[in-house]
C-alpha cells in the first residue's frame, strides 16, 4: 500500500466552475502534487465537494477519468464526500442551511448551462451569496459562507 496524504486543498470559494472545469483543475493539481512528491501512481483519491456547488458527481467522475487517461492518475479509485453548506448573517448572526437558502435565493439572474437550464450564479460561485440573497431574519446582504463552498482533495493514497 502506498503513502496517504491528507487535505490537499484544491479550491477555495468556488474558484472553478463547471464539472469539467472542476475536474480539469483537480487533474492538474494532482499531477503537480504527484510531480512534486515524486509519485509513480495514485491508488485512491477522496474528493470533498461543497454542497453549494451542486456538482454532478457522475459528470465530474466521467470528466476526471477522461482527463486523467495516460497519467499516473489513471485507474485510481475515486471517493466522494460532501461538505454541508452554512450561511451566516454578519449583521444579526442568524445562520441557515442550503435548504433554506434555496427558498430565499433571488432568481432574477442566472447562468445558462449547455443543456439550456438556468442555474443560480451561487452554485458556480458561492461568494456571490451576498448579491443573491438576504438574511431571512433581518434582511441584510452582509452574508458570509461559513462552509460548503469548496472543492478539496481530502486524502490521497499513492506510491
Amino acid at each position: 500500500m502506498g503513502n496517504v496524504y491528507f487535505n490537499h486543498h484544491l479550491s477555495q470559494g468556488g474558484d472553478c466552475l463547471h464539472e469539467w472545469s472542476l475536474a480539469d483543475a483537480a487533474v492538474r493539481s494532482l499531477l503537480s502534487f504527484g510531480e512534486e512528491k515524486g509519485l509513480k501512481k495514485f491508488i485512491e483519491i477522496e474528493i470533498s465537494m461543497g454542497e453549494i456547488m451542486e456538482i454532478d458527481k457522475d459528470v465530474f467522475k466521467e470528466a476526471f477519468l477522461m482527463l486523467s487517461k495516460g497519467t499516473i492518475l489513471e485507474n485510481a479509485n475515486i471517493i466522494f464526500s460532501e461538505e454541508k453548506a452554512l450561511f451566516k448573517c454578519n449583521s444579526c448572526g442568524r445562520k441557515w442551511d442550503m435548504e433554506e437558502a434555496e427558498k430565499i435565493i433571488e432568481r432574477e439572474v442566472g447562468v445558462e448551462e449547455e443543456g439550456g437550464e438556468i442555474e443560480s450564479p451561487l452554485h458556480f460561485m458561492p461568494e456571490l451569496a451576498c448579491a443573491l440573497m438576504r438574511c431571512p431574519n433581518c434582511g441584510s446582504r452582509d452574508i458570509s459562507v461559513e462552509s460548503g463552498r469548496d472543492l478539496s482533495i481530502r486524502r490521497v493514497v499513492a506510491e
Binding site: D15, H18, D24, R28, E36, L132
Partner: protein, 244 residues
C-alpha cells in the same frame, strides 16, 4: 499541500494569452473603464485578438456598455461576450445591477475566479480593468499574472486628489516589483502635468483630453468619428506602449 494560487495559475497558464495589460489607478472615477473599453475596441479593430476583463466587482461599468442578456457556462468555463476580435467578461454580465457587498476574502476569490474560469479564446492581449485602490482584488490580480508577459498602465486625472492617490498605487506596484509602463492623465488640459512634480515614474506619460464625444459614443453613436483626434491619438499612444 497546494493552495488556490497554484491551481488558478495552472488554469490561467493553460490559456493562450500573449500579453496581459493591467489598467489600474489609486481611486475610482478617473476613467479606467473608459480607457479600457476604448483601448480594447481600438486594439481589436487593429486586428488583434483582444480580451477585456472587468475586475471592478463592486461597481462594474463595462457590462452596461456591452449588452449581454445572459451569461452561458460551457464545458470549460464561462463564455465571454464575443464580437469579432473582441471578447469581454464582467461580473456585471452575471449579476446585472445588483449590489455586491463582498468582503476582502470574497473579493479576492471573485477576482481569481473570473480570471481563471473565463473560457478565453487564443488572445494576443487581455486587458484587465482593475478596481480602484490598492486592495485585495488588485493584489490578487498582480499575483495571478506575475509570471506572464504584461504591461501596466496607471490612470489618473489632473486633480491633486487623484494624483496623490495614484502615487500610492505606483508605490504599491513598485514595492511588488511591478514597473509602470505608462501613466495616463485622463481629462487632461495643457500644462496639467506640472501637478506631478517630482513623481518618480519609469514609463511614458500620456495625456488624454476631456472629450464630450466619449459620452456621445456610449450613449449610442458608437462611431469613432464622435471622438476627437486628440483623444484617439492618446489611445493610439497607449496602444504603442502596450505593443512594445
Amino acid at each position: 499541500m497546494i493552495g488556490r494560487d497554484v491551481i488558478l495559475r495552472e488554469r490561467f497558464l493553460s490559456k493562450n494569452i500573449g500579453k496581459l495589460v493591467l489598467i489600474g489607478s489609486g481611486k475610482g472615477g478617473v476613467g479606467k473603464s473608459t480607457i479600457s473599453i476604448f483601448l480594447s475596441l481600438f486594439m481589436a479593430e487593429k486586428g488583434n485578438k483582444t480580451g477585456l476583463l472587468d475586475l471592478d466587482v463592486h461597481s462594474s461599468s463595462i457590462a452596461s456598455v456591452f449588452n449581454m442578456s445572459r451569461i452561458r457556462a460551457g464545458k470549460y468555463g464561462f463564455e465571454p461576450l464575443r464580437r469579432g476580435n473582441l471578447e469581454v467578461m464582467s461580473l456585471g454580465f452575471l449579476l446585472g445591477d445588483r449590489p455586491v457587498p463582498l468582503r476582502g476574502e470574497g473579493e479576492s476569490s471573485v477576482v481569481s475566479w473570473l480570471m481563471s474560469t473565463t473560457n478565453w479564446g487564443d488572445l494576443d492581449y487581455l486587458l484587465v480593468d482593475l478596481p480602484p485602490g490598492t486592495g485585495d482584488e488588485v493584489l490578487s490580480a498582480i499575483r495571478m499574472s506575475s509570471w506572464m508577459r504584461r504591461r501596466n498602465i496607471a490612470v489618473t486625472t489632473p486633480s491633486k486628489i487623484s494624483v496623490d492617490a495614484v502615487r500610492k498605487y505606483v508605490k504599491l506596484l513598485k514595492d511588488e516589483n511591478v514597473e509602470i509602463d505608462a501613466l495616463v492623465v485622463n481629462m487632461s488640459r495643457l500644462g496639467d502635468l506640472k501637478l506631478f512634480g517630482d513623481m518618480e515614474l519609469t514609463g511614458n506619460t500620456i495625456e488624454l483630453p476631456f472629450d464630450p464625444g466619449v459620452e456621445e459614443f456610449f450613449r449610442g453613436a458608437r462611431e469613432w468619428s464622435s471622438l476627437s483626434d486628440e483623444f484617439l491619438s492618446g489611445i493610439e499612444r497607449i496602444y504603442e506602449v502596450i505593443k512594445q
